[in-house]
Amino acid sequence: MSGITPDVVEAHGLSPEEYERVLHALGREPNLVELGIFSVMWSEHCSYKSSRFHLKKLPTEAPWVICGPGENAGVIDIGDGQAAIFKMESHNHPSYIEPYQGAATGVGGILRDVFTMGARPVANMNALRFGRPDHPKMKHLVQGVVAGIGGYGNCVGVPTVGGETNFHRAYDGNILVNAMTVGVADADKIFYSAATGVGNPIVYVGSKTGRDGIHGATMASADFGEDSEEKRPTVQVGDPFTEKLLIEACLELMATDAIVAIQDMGAAGLTSSSVEMATNGKAGIRLDMNKVPCREEGMTPYEMMLSESQERMLMVLKPGKEAMAEAIFRKWELDFAVIGEVTDTRHMVLEFNGEVVCDIPLGPLAADAPEYERPYLSKDEYKAWAKVPALSGVPEKTDIRADLLKLMASPDLASRRWIWEQYDSQVGADTLQLSGGDAAVVRVHGTQKALAISTDCTPRYCYADPYEGGKQAIAEAYRNLCAVGATPLAVTNCLNFANPQRPEIMAQFVGCLQGMGDACRALDFPIVSGNVSLYNESKATGGGSAILPTPAIGGVGILTDYSKMATIALKEGAQKILLIGANPKVGPEIGQSKWLEVCCGKEAGPPPKVDLALEKRNGELVRQLIDKGLVTAVHDVSDGGILVAVTEMALAGGMGAQLQTIAFEDYVDSEKARHAWSLFAENQGRYLVTEPIDSHIVEKLANDAGVGCCFIGWTGGDAIRIGPDEETTVAEISLAELREASESFFRDWMEV
């Protein structure tokens, strides 16, 4: 009767073994609507079938965690009866196919995850990875993604305050677009998704349902074949204006006591929202498909259930509140329809034209869902497969002037001004610090508090050593939050990997998660929400390549008094520049450094190691220095090492610096005189701070805390000067030249 052939099953992305599970769950053959629902609910995107086993091992708890993974977003306590709600999510596959709409709807989706829980979104962030700038598609992709993120975020009026952008050939055929939203709510007004109360009305609000995005979740769960261009119709189209109205209408309704449960319709639309609400509430659900607001005539229940039309929400209301709720949504010119009710059957029943077109037992839909413990390579096997070249033939001294200019103009380190000027970063009038510093900082409206947010990951480290790379991603987020003076609280993540059915890719996934877990435990920095994006590999561009393992981390921290916030800009001349976290026992870690890649043409060696105990101690000291107002500028040392960090501080402040290598080579290089290594190594857990000339407290406090600290030079002048001591100059690069180098990359690429 239903005509479910093996071809139809395969077209829905289900394996024969998974189809057997469907038959078992239902106890009969499904019809097409039911098959469609199983296919999206059991897609990698919705079911986490390859990742769940390992995700369960991540630390998710702390006294300040109100809600960890499993809901729409994570919730943490930020004091004074307020909560921060946040999550990061990928929109990689759609963005490669149609960059503007792919990125725009990525922003829209993550915003809904946050305001559906009762928060007003206060900040957007993003983590972007692109291929080689000279790849024929890349300029178009970068322009489209940036315009799409801006087009959506600017219109809804949520400031886009920061993010990160990297370029590597491994992303030529599979760019990554990860969007993060942070919102603020009253801690006693958090909304969850569990549908309860038999007979309570189920209400559909927002935009009408169209035929767009059907099977987006299934698409996002497969490799790109040769036909990715043909997948364009599966990309949804965003309408940020409707989203803005939806935010205001939902928040207005949330201020009343009418809502029992609420869930946005994201990937797999009406299917996943209704299934999740009923499952979480241990209830059943009955929907009348004739009542679903549709954009086009003649839509079938199959299409309605699988549509990924944007800007829609599903709610369970308390009985008798329908009229009041409808008035609010009508005022905001949005659709509002009662489409069903909560039942006690534990079945999802769909009716259309008076007939039951779907009847799925929710227990088995969840219980029989596939979960794979996919095989993965051991550490040694992975090493043999990854073939990371050993460090050899690395020069110890080079033309530092030429190298610094080259680094500052390189795609990963150049100024991102071209990108972030396209984002409204100021709307809300609470943005205190922007992209370009270590973390973005946004004031909690009407208070002295501020949230600090940072997105971080160093994929080349993760490839060379997944475990250390995973640790480093968490540690860098922690460090960036500390560097503005914020106490790190919790993490969201977006785990972007290639095909998990390949044991080497699964080894990357498992290794990164182990590293992340260890770092989160050591730093009291739990993971409260996240998203997994697998199958990021492509045959479409002739690359046949997997992406680098990219577990993007979004860290959130709190400043209790924003007036104490630190920034990276050098403020005054004749101040001491100190290196915090210098560890004389470890030589310069030059492996996988930006300098090695950009200036020596090598992607070689092990990545730097993170000592988690030191990381914590160093971070605590830096926060203490900032809280007591003892330092005038702070910057973490990351890509490009000490010299790039100093240069970034100098450019931000419009003031130069003079580095005296004799003063610090004892601390950074046991063999001394390997100046290039000392200046460009990417040893972890380090910060640069500046201290007024007549103050001598920083070194003392560092000694007391058991944290390495050494003088490296002075602020002042209009150049970066490097020499062994004050009298001798080995290299001198004017700020004007450095600024030109930094600005040149995007300008020359985009504006000519």
Binding site: A147, G150, G151, N154, C155, V156, G157, D239, P240, F241, T242, K244, L245, K331, W332, E333, W420, E421, Q422, Y423, D424, S425, Q426, V427, G428, A429, L432, R443, Y562, S563, E751
Partner: protein, 226 residues
């Protein structure tokens, strides 16, 4: 000033309405009155009306075009005619040109991209009720954030508004391709100001510039002396 009655209009898609209300409250010490676009009438006895930034009706059709036809705009036009100060910022400026209260139009930025940054402006006319708190020729720093801020009018109109001192602010740097770098324009009577930069985002030290404060303070002070 006690008893100051400033109103902020919210259109569907306005997103700087709260920021504008906060700025008015911060400078005046009085709560801002929020007005819904669908209302036919303004509250009585208003001293000041602000049309905020944002994307009214999604900027679909043309920025500000649909909001300019909202029921409330008839009341705003009437109030402007009676001399009530009206400030339109960003999308509010676009609504003012679309509703005919100000000359010219705001086109897509010359660079085609959205632009958000703090820019330098020159105060061209410090005789208006909005600008009396600045020194003539002063350079101030105010953030912009817009996609359609490229001010256009024909040469005769430009010559006329320049001659009448109706260019309130001019960009001191290239921002969006505006004719003669015009950033803010006054109506003939001087009680309606439209500007692309956001003075409500430059009110306190935490904003990085407080140069917008004098604009609100001037308008409020002018009411005291009136």
């Amino acid at each position: 000033m006690s008893g100051f009655r400033g109103a902020v209009v919210t259109f569907p898609g306005s997103n700087c309405d709260r920021d504008m209300a906060v700025a008015l409250e911060e400078v005046s010490g009085e709560p801002a009155i929020r007005v819904w676009h669908g209302d036919a009438d303004l509250p009585d006895g208003l001293d000041f009306i602000a049309l905020p930034g944002g994307f009214s009706y999604g900027d679909y059709l043309r920025s500000g075009a649909m909001a300019a036809r909202s029921p409330i705009m008839q009341a705003v036009i009437a109030a402007a005619g009676r001399g009530v100060p009206v400030l339109g910022v960003c999308n509010g400026f676009q609504v003012l040109t679309e509703s005919g209260l100000l000359p010219g139009a705001l086109m897509r930025n010359a660079g085609q991209n959205f632009v958000c940054r703090t820019v330098a402006l020159t105060v061209e006319n410090n005789q208006s009720l909005f600008t009396a708190g600045y020194d003539a020729g002063a350079e101030i720093r105010i953030p912009v954030a817009h996609h359609d801020g490229n001010y256009f009018a024909d040469e005769a109109t430009l010559d006329r508004i320049e001659g009448e001192g109706r260019v309130a602010f001019r960009y001191a740097e290239a921002v969006n391709g505006s004719q003669r770098n015009i950033a803010g324009v006054l109506n003939e009577a001087g009680n309606v100001l439209g500007m692309m930069p956001h003075p409500e985002r430059a009110i306190e030290p935490a904003h990085g510039s407080s140069d917008g404060r004098a604009l609100f303070a001037s308008a409020i002070r002018s009411l005291v002396s009136a």
